[in-house]
Structure formats: C-alpha cells, structure tokens
C-alpha cells in the first residue's frame, strides 16, 4: 500500500511547527464503526476527536471547534440531523462544516439531511478514495469559511478602531468648534446705549465666518464680520488668525488707527492669497458712540445692512476686491449716520444665498424685507425669525454655507456722549 499523503498523527504535539493539522470530530454511537472510521481518517493524516452521541458531539464542537464534523445519522437521543439543526441554530457554531454519515444513501434521505443543515453526505460503505475526496472537499470549504470569518473579524476590529478614531477626531473637532465659538461676542450690551444679538450656524462643525463687536477706545465700538473661503478646519484656523489680527491691542500696534479703511488696507498686505487660492472677505465698521457716526470699509464682503426707522435703510457695501487679490491697493472708509433705534445688521452671504429646493437663491431683497418686517419686534426676535424664514426657504435646517447674522441696535433716547461726559 502506498504511503498516505499525510502522516498518521494523533499526537497534538507532533509536527507543531508545521501547518496545523486539520481536526475532525467523529460522532457515532456505534463504537466499532467509530473506531474503524477514526482509524481510516487518522491514516489519512488527520487528527480525530471522537464523541459517542449527539449531546457529547455538540459539547465537543463547542469546546474544540473542529475543522470538520462527521455525524452518524442514527443515534439514540439526539440523532445526526437534530445535531445539524442545533449547530445551525447556534450563532457561534453555525458556520461549522458538517458531513452526515449513513448506511443508506437514498435520495430522499440525502435531501432531508441537507435540508436539516448538513453540508455533505458520506456513506459508511464509501471507499477510502471517496472518504478522502469528500473529507478534503469539506475541509476546503471549512478553510474558506474560516478565512471569511477571520476576514470578517479583522474587518470588525478595523471598524471598531476606525469608529474609536472617528469619535476621537469628532471630539477634537468639537473642542475646536467650541474654541471658535468662544471667540464670538456675548450677546447683550457691548457698550452703553447699544444692544447686540446674533445667530451663527456653520455649515460644518467648524465655520469660516466669524464676527466681533467690541469696544475700541473710549467712545468707539468696533464691529467686523469676516468670511474665510473654504470650509472646515483650515478655513476656521485662518479665520481665527485674522480675528487675532483684528484685536484692539493689535490694531493699535500694527495699524496705529481704528479707521476701517486703514485696517483693511493693512490686512490686505498681511493676508495674501494662499497657494490654493484661499482668501478672506471682510467688512469692518467703527461706530463713534457720541455722534452715532459709523465709518466702514469692505474687502469683497457685501454683508452689512442698515435698517433705519427714521432715515434711509441701505446696504453698506460697495464692489471691492477680497483681501489678497491685489496687494497694492488701498481701501477707503465711507460713513453713515445712525439714528436712535436704527439697527445695523452684519451678515454672511450664506444666509441670502440659501437656495430653495429648485435652486433659486433667497436673495438680499427677501432678506431685507424680512428684517424690515420685524421692525416692531425685539432684535433677538428679528434675528431668530429671519433665520427661521431662511430655513423655510431652504426647506431644511442645514445651510450649504456658513451663516452668521448679527444685529446691533442703537437704543432709543440714548445720547452716549452726554451720558458719558
């Protein structure tokens, strides 16, 4: 007789360094048949575990996770097909490779065995070649299933790692977003006789639109809104850099004045286009509180609207290049006179460029009409309701661009200069 393809080994320590020997669980209540088949399998080079009935077989499957289970059909208590069903019903075991062994091989019996969970059939009278062929075929299937399981487990592990990483990144992003939001002014009264409210909704966690209202000097309120092109972390970082430039102490040092035109001219030098063509638009205003005179300048930013109760409402902007488009130019300030109860709105283009589902933009005219319709309401109500109306136009809550809307109201009956003097 020719030497078998595999060495006959049933010592688990033998051949340890070699490829792991496939393990076959043989479940048969008939001891003689079991010993005979086990011998045949061992001679074919497999490691064999034996169990004398269905219950012991199931326990061995759970304990040993064999590569292949060969089950006798007829057994007292739990028969072969019932063990098959138990295996398929168990999430841990259901991918086991199972061959049913029977003395009969009637077609209807084979059909029943397959329908109850067997993967293949083996006749007790099968030749050595057939046993070898079926066992090898079943082990190939088993190896493939195990490979799929390993891949699935690897994917699960990778997914868990990625999820954890994503959670970490989202947490960091949220911290950055909180930091950026902390740079925004507190709603309330930034100076005597002036109230201020705002709404802010970045399109991503981090926005490139930022604004500020703060006291510049003893009688002056500085206001600005900036828009960094692009979105996300890079835009937010650049926006914070420009915000740092626009701090009162820095302006006093590097510009030497709070004139909006001079501030924007200096910013135009200091913030050139990036290599990717990213840039800022900026609107800067300075409100002289005693006289309520507003001087302002813009670099490509069109977002300031003066809603005057007694005077003329107007958009405080003119065509101008964004920062960095032409480093050689200077920007001039213009002026507007505010009256008591006038409202000055600073806003990002994201609000009036909100598209309807058909693509039509909300537009500055509709925005202006909405702001004007809230003349009798509080500033906070006006801003909140205008945001709501924009969302209704959008028919959604997420704007495609950052949205900022800030309102400043010169309170009725105040005469800051006299009060202060």
């Amino acid at each position: 007789m020719a030497e078998p393809a595999h060495r006959i080994v049933d010592d688990p320590l033998a051949g340890k360094a070699a490829k792991p020997m496939p393990v076959i669980l043989l479940v048969d209540d008939d001891e003689i048949t079991r010993i005979s088949m086990a011998g045949r399998l061992k001679r074919l080079g497999y490691r064999v575990i034996e169990a004398g009935d269905g219950v012991a077989g199931l326990a061995a499957i759970r304990a040993q996770r064999p590569d292949l289970v060969i089950l006798d059909w007829m057994m007292p208590g739990l028969d072969g097909p019932s063990v098959c069903e138990a295996i398929r019903a168990d999430g841990e075991l259901r991918s086991s490779q199972v061959v049913l062994m029977t003395a009969h091989d009637k077609p209807e019996q084979i059909a029943e065995g397959l329908s109850r969970g067997a993967d293949d059939f083996l006749s007790k009278a099968a030749s050595k070649q057939e046993v070898l062929a079926r066992v090898q075929a079943s082990l190939r299937s088993s190896a493939l299933v195990r490979e799929i399981e390993r891949t699935r487990d690897d994917l699960d592990r990778s997914h868990r790692l990625l999820s954890a990483k994503q959670t970490e990144l989202e947490s960091e992003l949220q911290s950055a977003a909180d930091f950026v939001r902390a740079q925004l002014p507190l709603p309330g009264m930034p100076a005597p006789g002036v109230s201020m409210q705002w709404a802010y909704q970045p399109s991503l966690a981090l926005g490139g639109d930022l604004f500020q209202v703060s006291v510049w000097g003893s009688e002056t309120l500085g206001l600005y809104i900036l828009d960094a092109s692009g979105h996300g972390v890079a835009a937010a970082l650049r926006a914070v850099a420009l915000m740092t430039f626009l701090r009162e102490d820095n302006l006093a040092k590097v510009v030497g004045s709070f004139d909006p035109g001079a501030i924007i001219t200096e910013a135009n030098h200091r913030f050139p286009l990036t290599q990717d063509g990213e840039y800022f638009t900026l609107w800067v205003g300075r409100l002289h509180l005693p006289s309520r005179t507003l001087s302002y300048a813009a670099a490509g930013h069109s977002g300031a609207f003066l809603h005057s109760l007694q005077g003329v409402s107007q958009w405080l902007s003119s065509a101008s290049l964004p920062l960095g488009f032409d480093p050689t130019i200077s920007f001039d300030s213009a002026t507007a006179q505010l009256l008591p109860r006038d409202r000055l709105y600073l806003l990002s283009d994201g609000i009036y460029e909100a598209p309807s589902p058909t693509g039509e933009l909300w537009g500055r005219d509709r925005l202006q009409a909405t702001l004007e319709s809230h003349r009798a309401h509080t500033l906070a109500h006006s801003i909140g309701d205008t945001m709501t109306t924009a969302r209704q136009w959008l028919k959604g809550d997420i704007f495609p661009d950052d949205v900022a809307l800030l309102g400043v109201e010169v309170l009725d009956g105040t005469a800051p200069a006299k009060e202060k003097s």
């Binding site: 063509g277 990213e278 964004p322 488009f325």
Partner: protein
C-alpha cells in the same frame, strides 16, 4: 465642468461649461497649466457657459491673475452671464482680470500688448 481648448494665433480660448467650483478646480487648473506650457500669450476664459462660480473659484481666478506674469502674457474673461457676472462684479474681479463681451474684442485685446 467641460473644458474645450481653441488656439487662435498666440491666444488660447478655454470654453468652460458647467460649474466652476471647488469640486472641479483641479481640472480647471490642469487646463490652464496646459495652456501656459503651450506658450500661450493670452489666455481667454470663455465664461458664457458657466452657470455657477463659488468663492473657491474666485480665489482660483485671482491666483491665476497673479500667477500669469505680465511678461508672459495675460488672462481675461469672456462674456460672463447673469449670476456669474454679478459675482465677478461684486468681487471687483474685473479690476484684476479684464472682462470682454465678445470674442473679437478679447482677441483684439490680446494684440494690444504685442503692438505696444
């Protein structure tokens, strides 16, 4: 965005169709680079078929204006329409990039530096 290139004398006209935005700026920049390498003296961006221009594209155009050295030639815009024209006007882009309303004028514009 679709870009087709036409060479007329020392000028290259890029006929742009669709949206000029962040999403397709790589394609746009590649087409511009090809034109530069081809020794183009006047790059004319035909905006007639462009229906949308986002802020990123504005930056790209400004960068293009800065990166096309005067000694090597010029860049201009041709026939921007409605919304795009409005954006270009609002951003004052015409201050750094000449805007022509007809191809003839644009091509005539391209001959001026050579004549001067």
């Amino acid at each position: 965005m679709q870009i087709t290139e036409r060479r007329i004398g020392q000028s290259i006209i890029l006929d742009l169709t669709g949206e000029l935005s962040y999403a397709n700026r790589t394609t746009f920049k590649a087409a511009v680079e090809r034109s530069k390498r081809a020794g183009c003296r006047h790059l004319i961006l035909n905006m007639q078929g462009v229906r949308f221009l986002d802020s990123s594209a504005l930056g790209t155009l400004a960068l293009l204006a800065q990166s096309f050295p005067a000694a090597q030639g010029m860049v201009s815009l041709l026939n921007p329409q409605s919304y795009v024209k409005e954006i270009i006007t609002l951003a004052n882009l015409h201050q750094i990039l000449p805007v022509y309303n007809s191809e003839q004028d644009a091509l005539a514009g391209s001959r001026l530096p050579a004549a001067g």
